[in-house]
């Protein structure tokens, strides 16, 4: 090992704290070799966890698959947020999957819109 070379932890991350509709929101974005992990929390835990991926086809435009893998399965705006983010990742040129955790106090479209914008602003893709 070259002892003079600085060691860089292999997972890059961004973390930010902001206010969304009066609720303190922590956002953490981590980049692994094969996935992005985005944690958004207002309730002190990860909450509902989604998995979003791009399915590429040679002949047609890519399609996206978003599914809730842990937590509330009846909140459509959470899926919409995941869908927005995976498409943004895809447009940035990355094919990596997204693991998105949303621990939010409210699931209104305005909140999810602000969450999506904040994640995009602090993205690692």
């Amino acid at each position: 090992m070259d002892s003079g070379r600085p060691f860089r932890f292999p997972v890059a991350h961004n973390a930010v704290s902001l206010d969304i509709k009066g609720n303190k929101t922590e956002i953490m974005i981590c980049k692994y070799d094969d996935k992005f992990l985005v944690i958004v929390t207002q309730i002190g835990c990860m909450g509902t966890i989604l998995h979003a991926r791009k399915e590429e086809s040679v002949l047609t435009d890519p399609t996206y698959s978003v599914s809730i893998i842990f937590g509330k399965r009846d909140e459509p705006w959470l899926l919409a947020c995941g869908r927005q983010l995976i498409e943004h990742i895809s447009c940035a040129g990355s094919s990596m999957h997204l693991v998105l955790s949303l621990g939010l106090k409210d699931h209104s479209p305005e909140t999810l819109k602000d969450v999506t914008l904040a994640v995009i602003e602090n993205r690692l893709w």
Binding site: S3, G4, P6, N14, A15, L37, H51, I69, F70
Partner: protein, 170 residues
Amino acid sequence: MVNYEIAEVCGLHKIQNASHTKAKPPPLVDLISKILENQAVDGDVQITCFTEDLHDVTLHFQIIRLAKQIFVWIGCNTAKFGHLYAAAITRPNDQVAVTSILGGTSDNTGSGIARRLVLKTRLNIIVACNIPKDSPMLEATAERKLAEKLRSLGYVRPKPGGKSPDQAGF
């Protein structure tokens, strides 16, 4: 003498840079521990990343502490995300429940680590782990290092009306 620098991390929060000199570890224990950064975003969230070099394997650990839950990632040589598990103590009998969230349905490596971490620490834990299956020594080493770190960071909860983490053989 081993010189190393704590690397910068991109982010909007405070960045820490430091350099340390460290005496060569005793030859019997060829284990070099590098604490890369320990950053507090604010009082509710803390992210800790560190790496352990073993003889032929490098283990990376990332601990994200939220107010009521802890996310842990364990990387073996690579930074692949691995399989994802959730574990917690459930009522009424204080049993530990583990579930696979992403991948890993035929592989118990991460679920075993998650379960034993909750047993030792009584925390609500989400674990992502890419340790290959059928590596019990590696699994045990990773679990031990992680549990030590969680205790040193003060995240471990004492058992109700029972032993402290020190007395519990942890």
